[in-house]
Symmetry: C2
Subunit: 358 residues, 2 copies
């Protein structure tokens, strides 16, 4: 482990939460009352080895600058990474979109900043950070569903983050929704991701354009998911059909998730969810149809269960803040001197931020 | 609450586990080393009010007789009921197949036997009781999937029973698997239960017989699921087709459950699972097909993940035993005198029997 002598002083009263994405890093600097003092982004360009952390370091330092704070004000860092993470060691085992394998991220950042750093899978982290947030409405069991390049869920069950036996809980993007559909990157046919992810919506639009369907999307450059959601908002019939199909499949997957786990709240985020109302409405319409047919689903999915997080709310970075607050508390309780063990158990086992922070 | 002065003495060294089913009650009497000393069944005939507990009382007394023991040897009782249970009060809110609504089962049995009684939903109870059992192979996250008149799952996640926000986790029988299928009792079309439950398999067979399909099932009296599984075992082509369809749908639902919750072990029980190999093989065949297509499922569903519990193993009654052992421990730790509160928190919050008992 790192062997860094972690400075935890009364003077260090800020924490940083970081969302490491495939294309950019976002960092928040927050005080212990949960007030956001600074935010910054950096392109995620360097992608391998220890140098891969430079954009993370840059984003955290820029967020500290934006907060008018110095590195010595920082008490802890919480980071979400799109991949497999060992939360006890802070090692990223595999993050395909970053090109990372076995990167000791916590140790590298601890060496850089001299404070405790906790690392978690990004979707799991976002779910954990939503407990106690006003968006969760007091739910003790909730799912965060990220819809973007892929589709995945983070689960908080009975107030605890549920990672799963192999840290892979929430892989709902690979539940088959169209048995005769196209082959998914996972190898199966017709996974939810092949219908409702950003690339899937864009691919379907491109296929229709190539087949000569009359649509405003013929002129879209680039023809990506954002273009399709924009065209749907403007009333383009093809785009509406595609976003309806995506929303319907998402709604049925959410119903399956609620039937399986009995979560009380489902919060939608991720890049495609940034489509806003035109993304959300087909989901709510299909849920209403399901509810109207089934007393069971009426009970398990009452109106208001499924909500879209505000587009400006970075759920992963916020989860990082909550994790950092917990890590800071653990570090304070640790005996002084070099910390040579693993992440504190409290950091990896318990959910953070039970009280509303915003 | 009951106000009964619970006798917990060194002399009372046995516990009873009870499976209350729609047609019969099964009771086990077990010593604190987990050795089964007696077993008994009673038909579940009387179905309403306080008299509804008579078959339960009869089964427990008969199991005590079979164990050569007396009521004074009993220290605690754990009961599984097919319906909604408040595990803190031991009240059965609704058990449709028993015709029960708001039955204070724990209080009634405590008054009868003078020992602490804990009550839990049957499928949840079975899952909890499997933690630490050799069938679970050490898994800390597992699902018990009951296939019978209905289909439901009990989930133990990270070593804790997960009931869900409303106590309704595991309703996988109502995940839609055939969108254009028949209407389910829940109101939706094409739920898993409409394909793979006992009544569904029997109904499909009856429809084929009525349509003139050449099958040995034309002579089956009664034409129930057991007849179909028996005919499949004898090689009847129609029966094989029906059990393949049921097994395929179950396998896909199990894959969805594993993708969502990342459980390490799935244990199959319930009346239809009593069909044995002819029930299990189509499930394993479809899982093998899914695995062969997907690295993700290969990892999450390695060979041996899905297992059939032995037909003679009553998972619900065994879960009752484990719950009773925990309740007995809690009662011992309670202050002496009349116990007037709710079930001990330890009984309802923690999973029991971490060590293999058989």
């Amino acid at each position: 482990m790192s062997g860094v002598d972690h400075r935890v002083t009364e003077g260090a009263s800020l924490v940083a939460g970081v969302d490491v994405g495939g294309t950019k890093v976002a960092a928040l600097v927050v005080d212990t009352d949960g007030a956001t003092l600074g935010r910054a982004e950096r392109p995620m360009t360097v992608r391998s080895g220890a140098a891969g952390i430079e954009p993370i370091v840059g984003a955290v330092r820029a967020a500290l600058d934006a907060a008018g704070a110095a590195g010595t004000d920082l008490a802890a860092i919480g980071v979400g990474v799109p991949g497999r993470v060992d939360p006890e060691t802070g090692v990223v085992g595999l993050a395909t979109n970053l090109g990372w394998r076995d990167v000791p991220l916590a140790r590298l950042l601890e060496a850089e900043f001299g404070v405790i750093c906790a690392v978690e899978n990004d979707v799991h982290l976002a779910a954990a950070g939503l407990v106690g947030h006003e968006a969760a409405g007091g739910a003790r069991s909730l799912a965060y569903v990220a819809v973007g390049t892929g589709i995945g869920a983070g689960l908080v069950l009975d107030g605890r983050l549920h990672r799963g036996g192999r840290g892979m809980a929430g892989e709902i993007g690979h539940i088959v929704v169209e048995p005769a559909g196209v082959v998914c990157r996972c190898g199966q046919r017709g996974c939810l991701e092949t219908v409702a992810s950003g690339p899937a919506v864009a691919r379907r639009a491109a296929e229709e354009v190539a087949a000569g369907t009359d649509t405003s999307l013929r002129d879209a450059q680039p023809l990506n998911a954002k273009a399709v959601y924009d065209a749907a908002r403007a009333g383009d019939p093809l785009a509406l059909r595609l976003v309806d199909a995506a929303g319907g499949a998402l709604a049925r997957a959410i119903a399956g998730l609620v039937l399986t786990c009995d979560v009380e709240r489902v919060l939608l985020g991720g890049g495609v969810a940034g489509g806003g109302d035109v993304f959300l409405q087909p989901i709510l319409a299909e849920l209403e149809r399901l509810r109207s047919n089934s007393a069971l689903l009426s009970e398990l999915l009452p109106l208001g269960t499924v909500r879209l997080l505000a587009a400006h709310f970075d759920a992963v970075a916020w989860g990082g803040v909550a994790l950092a607050l917990r890590a800071r508390g653990s570090a304070r309780e640790s005996p002084p001197g070099p910390r040579t063990g693993t992440r504190p158990a409290a950091v990896v086992e318990e959910v953070v931020a039970r009280e509303p922070l915003t």
